[in-house]
Amino acid sequence: MLKALWNGFPLRAVRAFVAHPWVQRGFVLATLGLFVYAAWTGLVWAPPDREMGDVQRIMYAHVPMVQMMLLAGTINFVCSVLYLFHASWKTDALAEASAEVTLVFGAIGTTLGAIWGRPTWGVYWAWDPRLTTVAILLVAYAGYMALRRFVDDPERRAVWSAVTGIIIAVDVPIIYFSVKWWKSLHQVQSSPRTVDPQMVHALRLSIGAFFMLLIVFLVVRYRIALAARMRETTVPEGRQLGREAVAS
């Protein structure tokens, strides 16, 4: 590690530092620690809302989950575009990882929103523009993951997935702006600028914790996807020997 630090500063040094197992374990532990602290600030330290009371504490999990869903969806879009311009198994693997993480964060975040909606709106679900566009995104990414499973040829799968990812990404800005464009049941998105100063600290901590968790999930899932691509595209040794034997 020290040799790499000396030879290739700064990019190689950063890569060597990040790739070190103890740094990665430390990052996971820091994520868990921040998660616990953020949960404590949201559930205990922050004051209840003037109108929603304690129910509003769901915001500290729901808002960061949906934000990470949109961020992972954006990463999928960028990887999809990059793959079509410069085909690489790394961008394809990151696209697969980000799509799955989008689905996980989106499904849980939407469930939390439904639970928050019951005491505040009176219903778990309404066909409000924000909820409808999120539902479309989740169904679309479920289809995207199914597509990746059904196509056997890795190159064809990567191209089709990239095109599908770009089409799905059209929904991401629509979700973000839906509450401003249509002004329906769902309130305008909560952010540190729109909530009470006493709640800002807890919200920022939660966003930080979920962001770190997103990085952990993306990195682990990316490695799994990349290893699968390598296994698919590497010709087995036995088959190579067989070809040589036929040729000779």
């Binding site: 949960a39 929603m52 009371g53 304690d54 849980i108 639970i115 005491p119 682990v220």
Partner: protein, 52 residues
């Protein structure tokens, strides 16, 4: 009387009473879901390293 007064005052302000069961359900689903996904990643990661 004090308790009743507090409740009535809160109702007068239009504040939702209680609601902790929703908060517990939401955080329970959130933590359980994320933990299960982390577990699935861990298992798949191990399988991937073994080359299965």
């Amino acid at each position: 009387m004090n308790t009743l007064g507090t409740v009535l005052a809160a109702v007068g302000e239009g504040r939702i009473q209680g609601g902790w069961e929703y908060v517990k359900a939401a955080y329970g689903i959130c933590w359980t879901g994320l933990s299960l996904y982390a577990l699935s990643l861990f298992i798949r990661s191990r399988r991937s390293e073994e080359g299965k």
